[in-house]
């Protein structure tokens, strides 16, 4: 009998609900039954509520079962799941599931499909085509393709990637750097992690293209230390890529050099801010630098540096392989291409959904997500991480689009959507926004360092019912000051969640004062 390929995700989220135990049980059971299996530890398909999601390769395609528990494994073998047999947990062909079929997976095309550390698998699924195309072009032509694709930075600020690359291309320097921002600190986001664990070669390919395009020979991937699995995956993938000469002194035999190093952060949210990240990479405190100079001109060790988010860099191989116009054909307005959205919080079917810009939040949360996990009504949705606005349920028809969200004083950020049910207390969430800022501020400027502490105290007074009207006034002034006078977006955007809570949920700031909550 031929060897059956069985996929059990090695993604950290899948591991967190038992994928390792399931993989071991499958291996044991197969051995006991004399069935030859090859267990592939793939990335996650992104349907996190189905994890551990086991897939079996059959003549009829890849059949899924999930969520699988260790105690289900014997029964799955009984049901003949190695041939796609019927079982209570059977999901049918994964590619046929509505949740998958409705997506446009350009960046996440291979995540969950391939063996993340097999370069052969990567190539068999279209990998390295972008890099090969880039090697046939001049650096300027690669940069132009990225510009023409309309790609904007996926790390939060939405700055046009091609323009940033052009600045670095035009800068004269002995040494330039490519830095990948894999700090992914925003609550509600995990796309960078899933990509690094599920398709690390894609990030390597994107970074190599960036290096060749602008004449940078060295790249760093700065990964937050909360992501040990992603760090390990990247280190292993870099070693494989070096051995295959995808990285090194002569990238794919081109005579052009590009090397990569993965580095760990050390538990500081502010190190996701690009200049703080550069300080950290240089071995210093993660204190924000004043801009200008732009990192594109004076970045890492003072050299011209591209700093891009994981998803920005990972979008590039598709653009080079398939054409800028194909990428740009997706999306609306000035938001081109696709966005890998992350659905989390109190949600029935959370996970990763990659779609062209323009889809509404409601479609994502209700159709894909199935509403709250608690079954209670949705009350608030925070979009774009801890510095993003809280939106009330009636506003969820807003399309996913940088400008549309800015128009309602919200932001898309890194594409995280966090759902809260009607038990949420929005005054507490506002207080948390300040507390988070106070804890994670780099301390360089006063509006943020002191303002955040004052803000948390002020919201507490409002909650306690102490001089409410006066303190609401103080809060307004403080928000204005932080917005206007902070050096970076940490202090500058902390007022966004606070003001949105005040605007949409004023009743939570007017509740009869209760006996003070323990703190």
């Amino acid at each position: 009998m031929s060897v059956v390929r069985i996929f059990v995700p090695g993604d950290a989220a899948a591991l967190s609900v038992g994928a390792n135990g399931v993989a071991a049980a499958i291996a044991r059971e197969a051995a006991a039954r004399g069935i030859a299996v090859e267990i592939v530890r793939n990335g996650s398909r992104g349907m996190l509520w189905l994890e551990p999601l086991v897939e079996v390769e059959t003549a009829a395609g890849r059949i899924g079962y999930g969520p699988v528990a260790v105690r289900d494994v014997a029964g799955l073998f009984e049901a003949g799941f190695v041939n796609g047999g019927a079982h209570r947990l059977a999901l049918g062909r994964i590619d046929d599931l509505d949740w998958m079929k409705r997506q446009q997976r350009l960046t996440f095309a291979r995540v969950g499909v391939t063996d993340p550390l097999s370069l052969e698998d990567y190539k068999a699924h279209g990998g390295l085509k972008g890099l090969e195309a880039a090697l046939r072009l001049s650096g300027a032509a690669v940069v132009e393709a990225v510009r023409a694709s309309g790609l904007r930075g996926r790390g939060g600020a939405g700055f046009p990637t091609g323009i940033k690359w052009k600045t670095v291309l035009d800068a004269e320097a002995e040494q330039k750097y490519i830095v990948c921002n894999a700090d992914e600190g925003d609550s509600g986001t995990f796309a960078d992690r899933m990509l690094m664990e599920g398709d690390p070669f894609l990030l390597i390919e994107g970074m190599a293209i960036a290096g060749l395009a602008v004449g940078a020979t060295k790249g760093f991937i700065y990964i937050r230390s909360e992501y040990p699995h992603a760090f390990k995956a990247m280190e292993r993938a870099i070693a494989v890529a070096e051995k295959a000469e995808v990285l090194g002194a002569s990238v794919l035999g081109s005579g052009k050099a590009f090397t990569l190093e993965a580095r760990l952060g050390a538990g500081a949210y502010i190190c996701g801010e690009e200049t703080s990240l550069l300080e950290s990479l240089e071995g210093k405190r993660g204190v924000v630098r004043a801009k200008p100079p732009l990192p594109a001109l004076k970045g890492l060790f003072g050299k011209p540096t591209i700093v891009n988010n994981v998803l920005s860099l990972a979008a590039v191989p598709f653009i080079l392989a398939e054409g800028a116009e194909v990428y740009a054909a997706c999306g609306i307005g000035r938001s081109r291409g696709t966005l890998p959205v992350q659905l989390g919080g109190n949600i029935k079917r959370g996970g990763l959904i990659e779609l062209a810009f323009g889809v509404s939040l409601r479609t994502l949360i209700e159709d894909f997500g199935g509403g709250t996990r608690s079954g209670r009504p949705i009350r608030a949705v925070q979009v774009g991480g801890p510095l993003g606005a809280y939106l009330p349920a009636p506003q969820l028809d807003i399309p996913l689009d940088y400008e549309a969200l800015a128009g309602i004083k919200a932001m898309l950020g890194h594409g995280g959507i966090v759902v809260f049910d009607d038990t949420v207390d929005m005054a507490k969430q506002a207080k948390f926004a300040f507390e988070f800022c106070a804890k994670e501020s780099c301390g360089k400027c006063t509006p943020c360092r002191i303002g955040a502490v004052r803000g948390a105290e002020t919201v507490q007074r409002i909650i306690d019912g102490t001089e409410r009207e006066k303190n609401l006034g103080v809060l307004d002034d403080l928000n204005q000051l932080m917005t206007d006078a902070s050096l970076c977006a940490m202090g500058g955007l902390t007022p966004m969640p606070v003001m949105s809570a005040l605007r949409h949920f004023p009743e939570d700031f007017q509740r009869p004062a209760m006996s003070v909550a323990a703190e």
């Binding site: 600190g185 509600g188 986001t189 050390a266 949210y269 240089e282 989390g344 919080g345 959370g350 759902v419």
Partner: protein, 171 residues
């Protein structure tokens, strides 16, 4: 994971030597020391400063800036509980309350209760929260029963496996 070794200047210096060639070597060195000894001893500061030709103040500044580097070894198991927004929406604060019943106050490493609870903000498991990280392993859908098991010293593997036991509909 093996138990961290006791601080040893020679071993520490060897780690520093091994990594000093890296660009911006300070963080990789501090991580390697933290991994080896479970904390970064004050003796590391002059050692790194001298080897990398930096001022002590600069190394001390870096060491003190980051949450990951500890000045003392942890006495107990450290449970890093995510308390960011997506996990708040899934009830992580009730786990903080639950830990109190074990005599554990969050972010207080003083109490010798067998384990300590440390706040982290997001572990990238926001759809399967509340999330925690223990001994480098990610735990999803944490609940009171399994938090108790972690506090009482059950292996992380077992606690993850417990997530797979059938449970009723979420409250």
């Amino acid at each position: 994971m093996g138990l961290p070794a006791h601080w040893d200047d020679g071993h520490a210096q060897a780690i520093v030597e091994k990594l000093k060639h890296l660009d911006g070597a300070t963080l990789p060195i501090l991580h390697a020391l933290q991994d080896a000894f479970g904390y970064v001893d004050a003796a590391a500061v002059p050692m790194i400063a001298q080897t990398l030709n930096l001022s002590r103040a600069e190394v001390q500044g870096t060491l003190s800036f980051y949450h990951d580097f500890k000045a003392k070894p942890a006495m107990d198991r450290v449970i890093r509980l995510c308390r960011a927004e997506a996990c708040q929406a899934q009830g992580c604060e009730s786990l903080v309350e639950h830990a109190r019943r074990h005599g554990i106050a969050v972010d207080d490493h003083a109490a010798a209760a067998g384990a300590s609870l440390e706040t982290v903000y997001c572990l990238g498991n926001c759809a399967l929260g509340p999330a925690a990280m223990v001994e480098g392993e990610l735990v999803g859908r944490l609940d009171a029963v399994r938090l108790s098991a972690l506090i009482e010293g059950a292996s992380v593997e077992d606690v993850i496996a417990m997530a797979q036991e059938p449970v009723g509909e979420p409250a």
